[in-house]
Structures are given as C-alpha cells and as structure tokens.
C-alpha cells in the first residue's frame, strides 16, 4: 500500500469503518511507515480538539424566549403580507420606489432623494428586480441598507411600517403614486418638465 492510499483511509479508520483486508493492509503500512503514523496521530488529535471545544453557550434567557420569538416572527410575517397585497396593484417597481423613498425621506436629504451612491440607474433597476421577486425578502435588504444609511431610530420607524394601520396603508399607497411620478420625472426629465 502506498502512503497516498493509506492516507485516504485515515478518516474511515478514525470512524471505525474499516474492516477485514483493508484494515490489515493499512495497519501493516502504518507499522512500516513513521510518516503516516505521525500524520494519523495529528489527524486524531485534530479531531479530538474539534470535539473538545464547545460552542459558546447562548446568553441567559435565550431558550426561555425562543418559542415566543419564533411565534412573533410568524405573526410579523403574516402582518407584512399587507405589503405583498399592495404589490400587484402598484407594481413591483412602485413598491420598490416606495421603499427607497421611505428609506431616504427618513434622512431629510436636501438633494434629490434618489441620488444616493447606489442609485445609479442600473443599480436601481437591479434593486427593483430584487425587491420585485419577494417583498418579504426586501425586508432583509432594507435592513442591510438601513444599517449603512440610517440611524437606529430611523430603522425603528421603518420597521413600524411593516405593520401599519389601514389608514397608513392608504397614505402609503398615495405616497407611492407620488413617488412613481417623481421617479418618472427624474429619469425622463424632458417628458416630466421642470
């Protein structure tokens, strides 16, 4: 048996999965080959060390609240479906613009709300397409964007929008329509006029 063949059997050997002829051939190779013996020993020690290190324990109270947290997430998802219902009537693009708008008005920017670094046209389209696939997933994106662009208070106010009242939904629908027009004017200035 060659060293390379022997070494390919080490894991099966450590897991106790070798038997019969193969096991005997490996053993006689090990008897004759100090380098393979050394490598096997280091493999066994590595596996022992990996077993020995326990993952850091979860913080106190974590398990007590785990189920409640799962239930809360299920409820939150059910509530966020209002936005999914909004999408077919507005179109994915408008919904995306709405989200961008919500992100940016939170910052009270003087400049055009669409002219942040990532909103070159391609990126916006990519972003819209991404949001279009699933509004639920866009929540992730918004949170990631939020972490970079918004303060924690602004994120909190964004999050509250995911379970708004009916009246708020109406307002948002209205804002989205305004945003759609603003978006069109921004990208087709000659058509939209000054």
């Amino acid at each position: 048996m060659r060293c390379s063949q022997a070494r390919r059997l080490f894991i099966d050997f450590c897991e106790g999965e070798l038997s019969g002829d193969l096991l005997n051939r490996l053993k006689s190779h090990l008897d004759a080959c100090p380098r393979c013996r050394q490598q096997l020993r280091s493999l066994q020690r590595t596996l022992a060390v990996l077993r020995e290190v326990e993952p850091a324990p979860a913080p106190p109270g974590f398990w007590e609240h785990y189920l409640v947290e799962v239930r809360r997430k299920i409820d939150a998802k059910n509530r966020s479906r209002w936005l999914s219902r909004l999408v077919p009537s507005l179109g994915a693009a408008a919904a995306a613009i709405l989200l961008v708008f919500l992100l940016l008005t939170g910052r009270q920017k003087e400049q055009n709300p669409l002219s942040v670094s990532w909103s070159t046209e391609q990126e916006s389209i990519g972003y819209v397409a991404y949001l279009g696939t699933s509004v639920a997933e866009s929540v992730d994106v918004v949170q990631v964007l939020g972490e970079k662009l918004l303060s924690s208070d602004e994120i909190a106010s964004m999050e509250s929008l995911y379970c708004p009242s009916e009246q708020m939904t109406e307002q948002i629908t209205q804002i989205a329509e305004e945003m759609r027009l603003a978006y069109e004017a921004y990208y087709n200035p000659q058509k939209g006029g000054e």
Partner: protein, 183 residues
C-alpha cells in the same frame, strides 16, 4: 405526548393543532441553533437563522413530504439560509470594503465571553469559518451532527462520493490550520 414521532407531529400540525408546532420547535431548537452557530459563528445571526428556519417550515409545511425526515428538511433550511447569509455578508463587506476579518468571526460578543473562551476555541472557530461554505456544512453535519453521508448528500444536494471527498478535504484543512495546537 412529547414522545410523538416527528411524522405524527407534522400530521397534527397539518390538521391545525398548533401545539404540535410548539413541540417541534422545542424538540429541534437547540440542534438548529447550534448548527447555525457552527456555520456563522455569531449568536445573533444564528438565533435569527434558526428561528427563521422554523418560520419557513411553518409556512412550507404543505410542501413537506412524509417520505423524507423532518430533521433533514429543517437542517436543509438552516444550511441554505446560513450559506446565503454568509454570501450576502461577504458581498456586503466587499461592496463596502470592510474588514473581512469580521467574517471569520474574530472574538465577538461581550468582553467576559471573550475571556471565557480560550485561544484554542478561537482558533477552532476561525479554522472552521475559513472552510468554503459547502465544505463547512458537510463537515459540521458529519462531525458534530453525526449524520450519514447519504443524509448529508440529500441536505447539501451533492452525491455521496462528493460529500465524502469534501469531508476529507475539510478535515485535512482543519488539521493544517490547527497544527500548532496538535503537534
């Protein structure tokens, strides 16, 4: 009642018995959390990934077929989410030219947590985090979760042969990464 088989719990849940879902969560919360933690090495992210896996399971229950086992299904959700999560994080770090070290999990969390865990534990975490994502998944499922090659193949969508080869490579990388602790 807590001894109901997974299949029975799934049937009860499909019939609208919400308590069955609570039992499923109680039964698997630790396994899913620690699986996610091994994958992403961050408590908050692991909590989120494992809890979201239950949410997805709850919502996708009608897609669950009784000929596969509940835990391989749950494991698959966690592994896929963890891999996506790491990719997103990497992409985000790349776009923002952030310190990539945070990805391989330099000691995080409260200072006393860092004190509690020693140098060896950090080296192990780091070595595991540096494996390619699928290889990491295969290693964790095999070594820590004791799943069979066939179950792992089902979860990660690779052949049994490819799973075995990946595991072999993972263990050898870990041996090299941890050499100074074991030689």
């Amino acid at each position: 009642m807590d001894n109901d088989s997974d299949i029975l719990l799934v049937r009860r849940l499909k019939q609208g018995d919400e308590r069955a879902f609570n039992q499923i969560v109680n039964r698997y919360q630790q396994r899913l959390y620690y699986l996610a933690l091994r994958m992403v090495n961050d408590h908050e992210d692991a909590a989120d990934i494992s809890q979201e896996a239950f949410v997805k399971a709850y919502e996708g229950l009608s897609k669950f077929h009784e000929n596969s086992s509940l835990y391989t299904w749950l494991y698959r959700i966690v592994i896929n989410s963890a891999i996506n999560h790491q990719r997103k994080k990497r992409l985000w770090a790349f776009l923002h030219l952030e310190d990539m070290k945070s990805l391989s999990g330099s000691p995080s969390g409260s200072p006393d947590k860092v004190l509690e865990r020693n140098e060896l534990a950090d080296a192990v975490d780091k070595a595991i985090q540096e494996l390619p994502e699928k290889q990491k998944a295969i290693f964790v499922l095999r070594y820590y979760e004791n799943l069979s090659h066939r179950e792992i193949a089902e979860i990660v969508g690779r052949s049994v042969g490819a799973v075995k080869a990946s595991y072999f490579h993972a263990v050898n990388k870990l041996r090299k990464a941890l050499a100074r602790f074991v030689e």
